[in-house]
Amino acid sequence: MTQTAKAAIPEKPVRMTQAEKIERLKTQWTETERVILRRRSVRLYKKAQVPEFMVKRILEAGRFAPSAGNCQPWKFVVVREPEIIDGITETVIGICKTFRAVLDYRRPGFSWLRPLAKAFIRLRHSDLHPVPFGAINLIADRRLGLYHGAPTVVFIFKDVRGVSSPELDCGIAGQNMVLAAHSMGLGTCWVGFAKLAFERTDEWRKRLNIEYPYKFGSSLAIGWPRGRPDGMIERQTHPVDWYENGRKTVYC
C-alpha cells in the first residue's frame, strides 16, 4: 500500500521562490482554477461508457473530501445499468406529471388554482422555486431529460446521523468528484430531481437497498461530453463585505 502511494507522488517541480510564484499567479490561472472556472453542467453525452478505473478515481476524489468531524456521512452508489437509469427517469417523469396536474396554474383555464398553488409554493419554497417549477413542466413534457443519456450515474446518499450538516458534506464530496471528472475531460451534471424517485415512492429505495440511516442527497451524471461544453463564461458578481484595518469595504 505504502509503495503504491509513494509511487503516485509526482517528482518535485522546479523550485520557485514565493515571490516568483505570486508573480506568475498575477498573469495565469492554476490548473485547478482552470478546471473550476471552465466546468459547466453537461447535458449532452456520447453513448460510450466511461472506463471503470476513471469512475473509481472519481470516487477517490469524493472519499478524500473534508467533512464535519471527519464523519464521512455518505454512501455512493454507482449505476451503469441503462435499465435502472431509465427506470428512475420514468418514475420522475410520472411524479412531475402529477405535480404539474396539481400545481401548474399557468395552463389556460387553471387560473383558479393560483392562490392554492401559491400557498403551496410558499410552503415548499425551495422545491417549488421558479426554476425547478419550470423544470417540473419540462421534465413532464420530456423536454428536459434527467440524466441526458449519461452512461454512468453516481448517487450520493447522506447518513442522516452525520455531524452538523451531512447534506453539506455530501455536497462537498460531490463537487470533489465533479471537479476530478472534469479534470479528466469528462462531463458531469448534478441531478437533484432524482430525489422525487427516492422520496415519493419506495420502489427505487427497495431496488437499490437504501434504508435508514441513508437518505437521498443528490446524484451526478457522468460521461463523455458531446461537443466541447466546458469553458469560461460571464456570471453575476456578488458583493462581498470585507472588514480590514478597522473599516468595512464592499468588494464586487
Binding site: 498573469t27 482554477e33 419554497h125 426554476v131 469553458g231 463564461i233 453575476q236 458578481t237 456578488h238
Partner: protein, 109 residues
C-alpha cells in the same frame, strides 16, 4: 432599512407574469454562427428555438432562460453572449446579484 417588506416575505411572484419574473437573455452573432445547433441541444430550459438553421431565444412569455450560459460555453464559434441575468420578485426577489463578469485574475492593483 429591511431588504424585504412583510408582504415580500409572504407573497410569491406569479410565474407567468413578466412584471414579476424577468428571465435571462442571450444574444447571437449570426455572422459567426455556424448553425450546428449544439446550443439548442444544451439548453436545460428548452428556451432556444432552431429555425432556418439558426438559434433564437423564445419570445417573452415563453422565455425561461436561467442565465446558465451553457449555450455560451458550448458554442464552437463564440457566437453567443449572455446579456442579462434572471430577476425574480417578492419572496424570490433577486438580491446581491451584480453585473455579469467573466473570471477575473484580480491582479490589477
Amino acid at each position: 432599512m429591511a431588504r424585504f417588506s412583510v408582504l415580500e416575505k409572504i407573497l410569491v411572484p406569479t410565474y407567468d407574469d413578466p412584471n414579476e419574473m424577468t428571465p435571462g437573455q442571450v444574444a447571437f452573432d449570426y455572422e459567426k454562427c455556424g448553425g450546428c445547433s449544439l446550443c439548442v441541444q444544451a439548453c436545460p430550459a428548452d428556451t432556444l428555438l432552431f429555425e432556418d438553421k439558426k438559434p433564437y431565444l423564445k419570445p417573452p412569455g415563453k422565455n425561461e432562460c436561467m442565465a446558465c450560459a451553457d449555450c455560451v460555453a458550448i458554442c464552437p464559434e463564440g457566437a453567443i453572449r449572455l446579456t442579462r441575468g434572471y430577476r425574480f420578485t417578492k419572496y424570490f426577489k433577486t438580491i446581491d446579484h451584480g453585473e455579469l463578469r467573466g473570471p477575473r485574475l484580480c491582479a490589477d492593483e
